[in-house]
Symmetry: C2
Subunit: 810 residues, 2 copies
């Protein structure tokens, strides 16, 4: 167990005293106490909530804690004249949920604390009054055994709730730079408004009204202005799973030869011309009172956490979703404007109405004008898209696993390449999935023809026949127009094969040119949220970040948050900080280098499988993957080139984007190439999916949302390999993804395959594998065509960036 912490703000004593007073840990009386022991007793008794429980009960609870091997904490404070460091941390560990005898021993708490990576305040063996105050503050800002700071745990127990009636308590209240759960979530107000977007995507001659769902603290009714955490989720109003499934494309068809072209980027560049907009609706008066309310089923638990802490939360789904106007466009500017329209309303720059018919205006009068966006996947994509517009009011986006270019989501180097787990999906399928207007029968009747027409445009525009980049895709490159004005927190899973690493890599590199602050967190998940893990204080980091960006709290968030925080793949619960991601220089290896063993002793492979085997692999792609990567002989031996390095003498970390340059020939006029880098070595690896350590253990506020505590742990059994990056290419697109060249059978061409960027530790003793193959059952189309590929290994090379051993990991 490792309780890492990155969001703690070093705080001077005078500020600590002020914050402890503001949070009611120090009173006028206890601030005057000179005796550390008396003060210690007072603090312990306050911990058990004097306004909610009797003194006898609180004394009993302090009595349950051991300060030394023989004295309980209460007796300690009544019989001893000093507070020793050991006693303080013995009690501290128990308050943090650690168990005597199981997690630590009373005679040496510091050994356990070091092991759990828990902070120890800089105090003497006997704590002075000031040291006690400082150590208590540090303790409240230390994370418990169950993944929350102690003060957040206490808030869940009702610590702040006991002051709900205290008008003098600051609301919002910040403690160590982070907003506290001082808001009563039982009185949250839920409003619906309809924002009039500068769009008419359904071409009905009226601007598209977009439904926005607002949850805000009741204190806003008394004049408090709050910032907004905004999640733009096209899934939020429901999804058409079955209809989308039906649209899913068959991928078991042959690769076709493409007519060569001479296209340049200018030829396929998307026009920036925008359609003419209808005039805005007339506003028939104004009101401050919403007339529609709502209840949500799924909510993002991180957003819920902020609802207890003085933030409003807004959900909106955008064009083409239930109760809104318009049609889905899958990734265009119209979807971006769906998100920015909401932000503009929150910032006072756009009209919203109380309902869809009466045109009564309603302002976000409760908003302080500052907005931060959150959400993963499509939600994160829309955060990125909104941020790139520079829309006023948007102060930051926390982008989790967002797309930065739709072409890279559905295509790769002129080839149809699926997001992992979604073979056959494309922009039309995603459009259908999220077009939740379909779920309202009467509304769908009105829009059906327009929608079917729009669907056809998506299907034709995406052009699965060629897989080429074209103006359709160019209009869906979110990095094309960058006018960003807000700071960015990017979060991505190093095992995310759905939204792959190139998205965050390209976004981050593009943002380096901008005058903003950006931070990056790379975790070991696939396509996961990160706000309920024990080994990283992600929630606290986001709190620090949003308190800074949206409430202008001077908490040094830009300095405190590591520039790059990476979870180690080879050791559980281990996180490293770096200044950057991606070593610009790389080591180069010829593929005929004698340090690589050619396992199948071939440089030729056929992409054709026996019909039965092919069908079997289509049915069970995991079986195909095992056969492909396994070092022992399998049915895939003749269908791939498998190069395996010598065992590594020391740990090596692949840091960034590796590149494979192949001199390759196809036996036909068509060809596709796939390549993977594989970490070979028998080892326990982290679970693919986070495990639940304790169900419902995280309480995000008093009587508020519970969350499961989760972590990646080691799999029970060791595995022998793991693919950590891959690449795919249509050989006709060897220049770029829109330019098509001829492919002459038997002729060698130099092709360059850029792997998905990564950050991957190969342990000493492990071997690096380079696997070269063609059809990728999980990602590419699967034609099972009779094509033979030949690679001139001595004309081919791998360039791979390793983290220098003196890099600033901590």
């Amino acid at each position: 167990m490792k309780i890492n912490q990155f969001a703690y703000v070093p705080t001077p004593h005078h500020q600590i005293v002020k914050e402890l007073a503001n949070s009611r840990f120090l009173s006028a009386r206890t601030q005057k106490m000179a005796d550390p022991v008396m003060l210690y007793r007072a603090l312990l008794l306050k911990f058990f909530m004097e306004k909610r429980q009797s003194r006898a009960v609180r004394i009993q609870k302090v009595t349950n804690l051991m300060a030394t091997a023989t004295l309980n904490a209460y007796d300690y404070t009544t019989t001893q004249s000093i507070v020793t460091k050991t006693a303080f941390y013995n009690v501290a560990l128990q308050l943090l949920g650690f168990q005597v005898g199981l997690d630590f021993e009373l005679d040496h708490p510091f050994a356990a604390m070091a092991q759990f990576k828990l902070p120890i305040a800089n105090v003497d063996d006997q704590l002075s009054r000031e040291q006690l105050v400082d150590a208590w503050y540090r303790l409240l800002n230390t994370r418990t055994k169950f993944g929350q700071t102690l003060i957040d745990y206490l808030a869940g127990e009702g610590y702040y709730a006991q002051f709900y009636d205290d008008q003098n308590l600051n609301r919002p209240l910040f403690f160590n730079g982070k907003a506290q759960a001082v808001f009563d979530t039982s009185s949250l107000i839920s409003d619906v408004v309809y924002v009039e977007a500068p769009l008419d995507t359904d071409h009905d001659g009226q601007r598209d009204l977009l439904k926005a769902e607002i949850i805000r603290p009741a204190n806003t009714e008394d004049g408090l202005k709050v910032p907004t955490v905004f999640t733009a989720s096209p899934y939020d109003q429901g999804t058409n799973d079955e209809a989308a499934d039906k649209l899913t494309h068959d991928v078991n068809h042959p690769l076709s030869r493409k007519q060569p072209n001479q296209l340049t980027y200018e030829d396929i560049q998307a026009s920036d011309e925008q359609p003419k907009l209808p005039a805005p609706r007339k506003v028939n008066g104004d009101t401050d009172v919403a007339e529609e309310t709502f209840v949500k089923t799924w909510t993002y638990s991180l957003n819920d956490y902020f609802l207890a802490r003085g933030f409003a939360v807004v959900y909106s789904s955008g064009v083409g979703t239930k109760d809104s106007d318009g049609v889905r466009t899958t990734g265009t500017r119209a979807e971006t404007l769906s998100a920015t329209a909401i932000i503009e309303w929150l910032h006072g720059d756009r009209t919203a109405f109380t309902n869809r018919t009466d045109q009564i205006g309603i302002k976000a009068w409760w908003s302080n004008g500052n907005v931060g966006m959150t959400g993963r996947s499509y939600l994160g994509t829309l955060s990125t898209a909104a941020a790139m517009t520079g829309v006023a009011g948007l102060k930051t986006a926390v982008v989790e696993a967002g797309i930065s270019n739709y072409y890279d989501y559905y295509r790769e180097n002129g080839l149809v390449v699926a997001p992992g787990g979604f073979q056959g999906e494309d922009t039309d399928v995603l459009g259908e999935l999220t077009f939740s207007r379909e779920q309202s029968a009467a509304d769908y009747l009105k829009i059906k023809d327009t929608w079917l027409d729009q669907l056809k445009k998506l299907t034709s525009g995406q052009d699965r026949d060629t897989g080429n980049y074209n103006s359709f895709w160019d209009a869906r490159n979110l990095l094309k127009h960058v006018n960003i004005k807000c700071d960015m927190l990017l979060v991505h899973g190093l095992n995310d094969w759905n939204v792959k690493l190139s998205h965050v890599w390209n976004l981050r590199n593009r943002l380096k040119k901008e005058a903003i602050t950006q931070k990056l967190i790379l975790h070991q998940g696939q396509h996961e949220y990160l706000n309920n893990f024990r080994s990283v204080d992600y929630t606290d980091l986001v709190n620090l970040w949003l308190s800074n960006k949206l409430y202008d709290v001077q908490n040094n968030a830009n300095d405190i948050l590591p520039d790059v925080l990476v979870q180690d793949n080879a050791e559980p619960e281990t996180w490293h900080t770096y200044q950057d991601w991606g070593n610009p220089s790389a080591d180069t290896y010829s593929l005929s280098d004698s340090r690589f063993t050619n396992l199948n002793e071939n440089n030729v492979f056929s992409d054709h499988l026996d019909d039965d085997l092919f069908k079997n692999y289509v049915k069970d792609t995991a079986k195909w993957q095992r056969a492909l990567f396994n070092k022992s002989h399998t049915k895939m031996d003749k269908h791939a080139i498998q190069l395996i390095s010598e065992p590594l003498k020391k740990d090596l970390i692949v840091d960034g984007q590796a590149k494979l340059t192949l001199s390759a020939a196809s036996s036909e006029t068509i060809g596709l190439l796939s390549a993977a880098l594989v970490d070979y070595g028998k080892a326990k690896r982290l679970t693919a999916v986070p495990q639940i350590l304790a169900a419902q253990k995280i309480i995000t506020g008093y009587n508020w949302r519970k969350d499961n505590l989760r972590e990646f742990t080691f799999e029970k059994k060791a595995s022998t390999y793991k693919k950590f990056t891959d690449a795919h290419m249509n050989m006709q697109n060897r220049q770029n993804s829109y330019r098509v060249d001829d492919l002459k059978p038997g002729q060698y061409y130099t092709v360059e395959l850029a792997f998905q960027p990564t950050f991957w530790r190969l342990l000493a003793g492990h071997q690096l594998g380079i696997i070269i193959y063609a059809t990728d059952m999980d990602y590419t189309i699967r034609g099972n065509q009779d094509i033979t590929y030949t690679i001139a290994l001595d004309e081919s090379k791998l360039e791979i960036p390793f983290l220098p051993s003196d890099a600033n990991a901590k």
Copy 2:
């Protein structure tokens, strides 16, 4: 998709009118409306909550629904002069969450309704005013696409919350015999009290104080008396997982010969003599106000559901748990009294204190004296135990997967046989697991010696050396003393290999002798809760039951609830009702019957495996199970007898307890026999674990606990077999579990193995398999001894009870 419903109470029109008025669907004005169309419009507008949303918004929402292929529901009510049955059910299906085009078509809603098993009111093609009222009531009491009744869904949306300020609304409110979510869960009150139990299990000369945690509606402060849903959970204050793991017994050791005995039951009968009790504490005054409060992480979502509906919920963990006195005893009367003491306090018959030190008494002044128990596994076990005492106040227990005899949990026929998934667990391990006083360092210091002493007594008493039934186990047979006075609802999973089916079977059969009402639900889960499944209205059934038992609502619960409700194993979402479980007569088959193929052509098998294979199977018992049961040849061929029937000509349902009578010889003076009945046939089978259909989709009250909607669905791949029952025996215990006989090598003995009772449909074309083996890697000790077993197949027989084809399944 099948939306089954068993908890609807047929209700006459005059009662319907009254209930709709009480629940505010009919007002003084609408009750007078003669025109069905006007009334229909009024009801639809009320559905969208007139007190919370403007008329314009509500009209918009009604406008979103289609009544016919061309008319939306609002226009329908303004342009039509009649309400047709088709229009009504078109709209009804949309209100229930079904989607036009996807789930049903507007021109024939009834086809979909039949398919989904949705009820249709008995109305004419044109609804009269009365029929409209009746159909609307039936609709509100119909289950949605997402597993709740429509009225419960509406409550989650805030329907009843709009009347929180209405003092005239009945609280509690019953609708169709079920308590409604009319209580504001944001103002629930949480109290801790310490009940003084008639126990001194830690022998400290003071009666054991037991902590009880109470959650009750705020309305109790204004004089409302409410019943209590009580869950006695020894896990609730935390568990010592690591310490328990360390105590877990090694099972890889040889079976030893037991000295024969002549014991009769009288010899091993447990004494009923009880230890002398210390006098109760002096009561130093009384108060109505608790002085300790609490926050819970895990709660049972079914209990939470009742908190919104006018029930208090109490959790208590019993002797030896954190903040209580005493030691764990794993299944004795002391644990039973831990539960009944709480009930006695709730019924006004026992003292509780406000804290552990001051002896200030506090009564359950808010309680109406009626208590129902809930909970699964150990929790259900304690419900059974409490019910058997006849304690006053306990009106019913809903027992989910409860133990009825601890011997049957840890032993079987003189053999150490583990609960599934818990090899090596025993009463000492469970005691250690639940002895949460250990988590409080100071408290543990005081009790440690007493506890280690008690642990030793558990270890010695359970006697793993022989596996025999003895007075230790006799004291843990919950069916020994039966003084039951309350009605029982028993719930068990037909795939529960942890608490096996014999527990509910024996309990149910014993209860048949008592003058109580009992009901049984058998589902296809392992060890699962059932309150959030789409295919069965379990929550509603329990609501009907508890409203009847605890609020004395005359809702015919005893007649409405089926006596036996069984989920089909061969078809998803299918439930059948029966009058009884277990056919008393059985078909008998000789094991040499020619209709059985002896797959390995043997009647002899060795229990000894090569060392490597043995270790491999110990590591991966699933692999062992596959080898054992697979019909193709495997390494287990010489280690089992595999008899496979002819393919069945028609479906057969095994209904109750099958029995195998073997004429068997061991080559040694020791011997153990295992047997399994296996359903052979390639088929898709239900998932072992319920799948989440929709996360957080169930809202149990307004702004209240969310729950995942779940269901067992078909596995994606077909499987070829499934074990559906088994049995184990020590051959020295062929008479019974305490009497030990000699075993002479080579001599044939008649032994009778009673299988776990079951209810299992074998589909036509499938084959019944009888597998006879010795060591069961998953359950028995694993000695890998060199023993050969011989079965005289023509002297052996299977007796198997089948459900008669004319049984009253619906």
